[in-house]
């Protein structure tokens, strides 16, 4: 699961205890395959498409999507990673550290950037990511792909590609990992 989300979700820290399995690995794979087709359909191919994964939860997902895109179109889309800690709006309000690597080798000017994350929640991470992207050039378009949209948005941000819409309580925690998607909560 995104460490980021774990720390954003009160009570901070603690141990994740799963209550239910929302999707298994095969279901995640099918959802990502559909997202792959949707990305290709929306952009009429993969020309100029760049995947930028949000650290840390989006990285594995972006690699899975990149493999699917290659299987469908035979194209290797450029992959990047982005840590948005230094762009967050809650610096000074809670501990914030840029703990994972930002690695964007492509000039994003004129490109179609597909941001990839595991879970879309308040939208604040995506807001920070949109700011960060502008420091790497001016993309022609930015789109957002997530495995889970769990609601509770605090900003006018919406995803373009969604694996599954999952109604949650605010204090619940969604964990996306190689085995699938779990819903549970943090316990001290």
């Amino acid at each position: 699961m995104a460490d980021r989300e774990r720390r954003m979700t009160p009570p901070y820290g603690g141990v994740f205890v799963a209550r239910t399995t929302v999707m298994d690995a095969a279901q995640v794979q099918r959802a990502l395959t559909r997202i792959g087709h949707e990305i290709i359909e929306r952009n009429q191919g993969l020309e100029d498409v760049v995947l930028v994964a949000l650290q840390t939860g989006g990285v594995e997902v972006s690699q899975l999507i990149a493999r699917i895109l290659f299987e469908i179109e035979g194209v290797d889309v450029p992959l990047g990673t982005l840590d948005v800690a230094l762009y967050r709006d809650d610096i000074g309000l809670r501990p914030v550290m840029p703990e994972a690597e930002t690695d964007i080798q492509t000039d994003l000017g004129g490109k179609i950037v597909v941001l990839v994350d595991d879970v879309l929640f308040t939208g604040r991470t995506i807001r920070a990511a949109l700011d960060a992207l502008t420091d790497f050039g001016r993309p022609r378009a930015v789109q957002l792909a997530v495995v889970i949209d769990r609601g509770h948005r605090e900003l006018p941000i919406r995803p373009d590609f969604v694996g599954k819409n999952l109604p949650t309580r605010r204090d619940e925690v969604v964990d996306v990992n190689a085995e699938g998607v779990l819903l549970g909560e943090m316990r001290k």
Binding site: L86, Y87, I91, P95, V96, M97, P98, T134, F136
Partner: protein
Amino acid sequence: MKHLVDLKDIGEQGIQELLHLTDRFAEVCQRPIPKVPALRGRTVAMVFFEDSTRTRMSFDLAAKRLSADVLDFPTHASSLSKGETLRDTVETIGALGVDALVIRHGVGGLPSEIAHEVGEYISVINAGDGLNAHPTQGLLDAYTLCQHFNGSAGPEASLAGVHIGIIGDVRHSRVARSDVDVYTKLGATVTVVAPQSLQPSDVDKWPVEVAENLDEVLPKFDVVGLLRIQTERMDDSSALPVTDYVERYGITEARATTLKDDVVITHPGPVNRGIEIADSVLDGRPNVLVSKQVMNGVALRMAVLFRLLGSGIEIE
């Protein structure tokens, strides 16, 4: 700890964390727009009682790349010259709403005293105090070496197995003191090379080997850390005529032939060309990291400023 006054206050792990954070900011410095909004609304005051070009510019740029505001405190033209005490001056700076004080002063230990007085609401960063310490220089030197040997600092930066010679005016060098602190904490072997008159009086308590004859030890070094000859800090008793110094301790062309082929050369700058090192060696050899040190200085100081003012996590 919300200050950076002396590396003696920080353990190995605290140093490793700062160096790893520097990896992140080194990447920021490579971006098309090398600036992040992390410290918007924070103010950093630069209080330099001693001349400084590089350190000051480096801190200035670091703060600006974090979007902090920078206040320059003109120590020559200030009310200090009207008789205001340093303590009152610092209180005034604090009342202006400054979040951090980057201070350089000729008196060793002064930043630490100021940290005690105003430390509750202002972070104090030592940019060099007397002969005592220059922590950010020590950290950036260590970072530069880790980057050279391993590509980056990584989460567990180490200089184990690296033999570092620190050569020159060790007695008058706060850089040497901070370098020794950080290098030895990261596991390096350090040999200090200086004539008796330029060795610190308490050098026997340092965790280093001491040598007077450079030619005996030079071929063993993986890193040659040169220091600037600081004529402004020398009294006549310790001074060594420049020609004698060059003959015994300068990295001349002849002496450079005895160096290991892949030896790394560092110098905190500004370099006295022809004294600490010959022009042809400085400009001709590979692995002279002087400009890397300057580049990394900005990233390292961004890491320090962000860690103290933004992260919400104190240095341990």
